[in-house]
Every structure is written in C-alpha cells, then in structure tokens.
C-alpha cells in the first residue's frame, strides 16, 4: 500500500547545523500527527522540505506515490499539500474577507486551467461561488465579526485562524500547521485548535501540526513525532511518545510536570 505522504532518508545541513538527519516518515490517510521538539530540532525544516520551500540535500519525498522532492511550493500546493505559518502570512492591506477571496480565486483559477478560465467573466453573479465560499469559511472559523477589518490590524489569534483558513481554502489532502497556537494566550489555545480541527475534519484533510504545548498534542494528535537535533527521537502513539524517557529528557524537559506545578 502506498502512503499518502512519505519522506525517505531526508538530510539537510545549513553549514555546521544539521537540520535533518535521515528523516523517514510515512503518513497514513486521516492521521493527525503532532510534531514536537525544542527550537532548532528540525520541525519547521521538515515542513519546509515537504512543501517545497527547501530542497533536501539527499532523500526523497513522495505524495500519493509521486516524487515531489524537486517541486516548487506552488506545484506542491496544486497537488494537494498546503501549510499555515508560525508567523501568519497574510495580505495585510486587504480585509479578512478579501484575503480569503484571493485564496479561493487562485483555487478557482487552478481548477479550470486553459484559456477560457483566464478570460474575465463579465456575467453578473460570476463571483457568487467565491463570495459564498469566503463567507462560509469566515463563519466556520468564527471570523465573521472581523470580515471587513484589514488583516494587518487583527489580533494575533485571529491572524492565526485566518492564516489557517487560507491554507484550508486550497482544499488540501495534507495540511501542515506550523505552531498554530504560538503567540496566542493559553485560554485561547484550545478554542483555536477546536475550530481548526473541526474545519479540517469537515474537509477530510490529513494534518501534521508543530506544537510546543504537550496538552494540545496529547489532546488532538493520534500520532506524535519527537524531533531532536535533526533526528526523529520517537514516533508513535501520543501516550507512548510523551512517556518515553529520552523524549522527556531532551524534548519536553525534565522539569515539565503537571500543569498545577508550572502555574505555581
């Protein structure tokens, strides 16, 4: 059986830093995978390699059995792999609504390649499907009240949601979320993740998310990859990986204890 997404022996070095050392991962359809690890462990490098932003020095990446190692981000996106960003990448001078309209417009354009899709449609109402899709997306992510606000002035949590909504607008088979809850207050984290995971399930996307909050990881992931020094230290069910002594020492940190203690 071919996996939905498969990385084989990925290596990447930035000078003396090893960002990926023999990374091999096979991702099954419908899994929700949490990527954990300290800063510099290689999580984002992995995301960047899968989405075509960085080329691995060696190793190959397959999507539905097709080699996508040498493709550009836009080609990878068109095949069905999209991502969100740790720092939201939005169109700051446009409203939340228009950000989604741009995203959906690109999807529309890619869906109907050929000369005629490039011809401006002057028929009244041709924008209706885009408009409805954008409104539905705003609704689903609870962004309705921010519809006409410029993306550049939105609160960080809302920017995160909009960023993820745009990635999901592409209707990806695989969605990679780079720290979806970073920079967001702890009270908002679960709310954001609930919204995101509900929307993702509705679209039927397989998810890989980078996360530092172990409560989030254990609650939403059904598989965890622990990165350390460019390697995968552990790979398995959340309970098993989070209880792994090496993971506890190098990734979570020995001092990581139940929540009550850290709040004291």
């Amino acid at each position: 059986m071919t996996h939905l997404l498969e990385a084989k022996g990925l290596n990447k070095r930035f000078g003396a830093v090893t960002a990926a050392a023999d990374i091999s991962v096979a991702v099954a359809q419908d899994s929700v995978i949490g990527l954990i690890g300290t800063n510099g462990a290689g999580k984002t490098t992995f995301v960047n390699m899968v989405t075509g932003y960085l080329k691995p020095d060696t190793g190959r990446i397959f999507f539905q059995g097709r080699d996508i190692t040498a493709l550009h981000p836009r080609q990878v996106t068109r095949l069905g792999i999209c991502r969100s960003f740790q720092i939201p990448q939005l169109y700051n001078s446009l409203s939340a609504y228009d950000n989604l309209i741009v995203a959906l417009g690109i999807v529309l354009r890619n869906a109907k390649p050929g000369v005629f899709s490039r011809v401006p449609r002057l028929v009244p109402g041709h924008e209706l499907p885009l408009h409805e899709a954008a409104e539905a997306m705003l609704e689903r992510f609870g962004l309705g009240e921010f519809r006409d606000k410029l993306a550049g002035v939105l609160p960080e949590g809302i920017r995160k949601l909009l960023d993820i909504a745009m990635a999901l607008a592409v209707k990806p088979r695989v969605l990679l979320l780079d720290e979806p809850t970073s920079g967001v207050s702890s009270e908002e984290k679960f709310e954001i993740m609930d919204r995101v995971m509900t929307a993702v399930r509705a679209e039927g996307a397989t998810v890989l998310f980078v996360e530092h909050d172990m409560d989030i990881v254990s609650r939403y992931a059904n598989r965890v990859l622990a990165f350390y020094d460019g390697r995968i230290l552990a790979d398995g069910a959340p309970e098993a990986v989070l209880a792994d002594p090496e993971v506890r020492e190098y990734v979570i940190g020995a001092h990581a204890q139940p929540k009550e203690v850290s709040h004291a």
């Binding site: 989405t51 169109y91 700051n92 001078s93 529309l108 354009r109 002057l122």
Partner: protein
C-alpha cells in the same frame, strides 16, 4: 462586493460628459486627447503600482507604440486608425512579453532601474537611426477611420471622441480585470509573494502578464499621442518622459481606474497654464503642485473623490 459597483456607470457617464464637453469647448480637444494618451500609459502604471512595482521605463512602450503606428503609416501609407492602434498594441505587447521574461524576476529599485535602462536603449537606438529621423523623429499623416479623416485644421473632434472611447473601454476592462482572480493577485503580490506561491499561483507569471498589459496600454497611449500631435521623436522614450508618467500616477492616486485620466488632464492643464504664465520656470510651478499634492493628498487627487463619497 456588497456595495453596488458604481464604477462602470461612472465611466460611461464620464464618456458621455467628455463627448459633450469636447463639442462645447473645441479648443480643449487637443489637450484632452493628449491627456488621454498619457492617461492610458498611467493606467498601465496604476496596474503595476497596485502590484507593488514602479516602472521608470514606460516611455519604452509609449515610444514603441508611437513608432510602430508611425512607421506603418509612413512607409506603407496605412492611415486607418484602428489598424494603427492595433499595430501599436501588438508591437508594444510583443516587446513587453520578451522583456518581461527578464523583468518579472526583479522587484523594487532593481525593477525600476532595469525598466529605465531598457527604455534608454530604445532611445539610443532611435537617436542613431537616420531612416527614422534620428533625434528629429518624423511627421505622421492624419489618421482616418473608414476612409474619413479624423482631424483637420477646423476640427479634431473625431480623433478626440475616438480617444475618449478607447479610454473608457480601457478603464472598463481594467476595472473588470481587477475583479478576476488574476487581477486580485495584484495587492496580494504587493503584500506577500510567499503566500501567493503557497496558495498555488506563480508570482512571476502574474507579474509578467501585468507588465505586458501595462506595455500594451502604453503602446496605445503613445500611438494616440503621436497621431494627435502629428509628430513623433525619440524623446518619447527618454527617461524624463517615463518619470512624468510616474509623476502623474502619484498625482492621480491608485484609488480608481478613472484616476489616471483625471490626473493626466490636471497635469496637462497645470503645465499649459504654467507654460503660458511663466515660460522660463514652468517646471517650478509643476514641482510646487506635486509638493502640495504629496503633503495634503498623499493618496493622490482621487482621494478627494473618495472623501466626498464617504
């Protein structure tokens, strides 16, 4: 999208108004046609500005369009205005497609300077081409439409009205273009190219298309100007001409597809009066106007219209 789109109506109403005003004030027809020729070029520049690109070399296509129409008229005797304008559009379009391969990879000051350099190459070539009149350029025959001359000593109204119709069509087309998925990529590319690529669109291809559209518009604008004046010379590709387009674009603002035409008309008006009242220091008057606009209307003349509507 909720608000009703009034721009098409505004454009058609302006067209009717202009055609009427042209009849009432025949002395202004020449200036009006010149302003439209320039306005078309600035409309292309508006597209580039909304995409975050400043071309200091639109004179290249402005001049190329004029010379394409001019040489066709001069050497083959074709005077039909539609053939001449289409030739100008085709020539500048082909040039923009070819040069766009290079330019679409550059941004910011590099894009600006490279576009300027390319326009100066054309200027240099034309200056050295004796067959095309070198620095003097050459005169153009009066254009015709269906065999009828469009301008005479008594009246320039036919040419003026044709220019108005071309301008209205270009503005309408640009307005609808900005509502297509490709048109919407303009502000997106200006804001965040990485996101555009990550949503599955090619920034480079989009910039290439936009650059070509801007080139075609400048070509038509240049040809119209040449046919109105009845003379063309390499100055049309000189960097000060290109600079003037940027000047007018900033003066106009990027708020509407109608802004470039309003801006060009005001520019020509100020220049004409400044030249009449202070022939030796008219640039001073233009500079002062520019300064006042930047200080008091940073979003250009069009912001006056938007303020009133709000």
């Amino acid at each position: 999208m909720n608000r009703q789109d009034r721009t098409p109506l505004l454009i058609v109403a302006s067209l009717v108004l202009l055609l009427g005003l042209g009849l009432l004030f025949p002395n202004w027809q020449f200036l009006g046609t010149l302003a439209i020729g320039k306005g078309l070029t600035v409309l292309g520049l508006l597209l580039l500005l909304r995409t975050g690109l400043v071309s200091f070399g639109q004179g290249l296509y402005y001049c190329l369009g004029a010379y394409a129409a001019g040489t066709l008229s001069q050497f083959t005797g074709v005077t039909d205005v539609l053939v001449l304008l289409l030739t100008a559009a085709a020539a500048s379009g082909v040039a923009a497609v070819i040069l766009g391969i290079l330019l679409a990879a550059y941004r910011g000051i590099f894009f600006s300077m490279l576009s300027l350099a390319l326009s100066m190459i054309l200027y240099g070539l034309l200056v050295k081409t004796a067959a095309l009149g070198s620095t003097d350029g050459f005169n153009l025959a009066v254009p015709t439409l269906l065999g009828l001359p469009l301008a005479s000593y008594e009246s320039r109204y036919p040419l003026f009205s044709l220019a108005c119709v071309v301008a209205a069509l270009a503005a309408l087309a640009m307005h609808y273009y900005f509502r297509t998925p490709l048109g919407r990529l303009s502000p997106a590319i200006r804001d965040n190219e990485i996101r555009v690529e990550y949503l599955g669109a090619s920034v480079r291809a989009a910039v290439h298309v936009k650059y070509t559209i801007a080139g075609v518009l400048a070509g038509i604008g240049g040809a119209l100007t040449g046919l109105t004046v009845g003379h063309i010379d390499p100055e049309m590709a000189y960097w000060t001409t290109s600079g003037e387009f940027v000047f007018v674009a900033i003066l106009s603002g990027t708020g509407s597809v109608a802004a470039p035409f309003l801006g060009s008309f005001i520019f020509e008006l100020v220049r004409t009066f400044a030249y009449e009242y202070s022939p030796n220091s008219w640039q001073l008057a233009l500079g002062t106007v520019m300064l006042l606009i930047i200080v008091f209307l940073p979003a250009g003349l069009w912001s006056l219209m938007q303020r009133r509507r709000a």
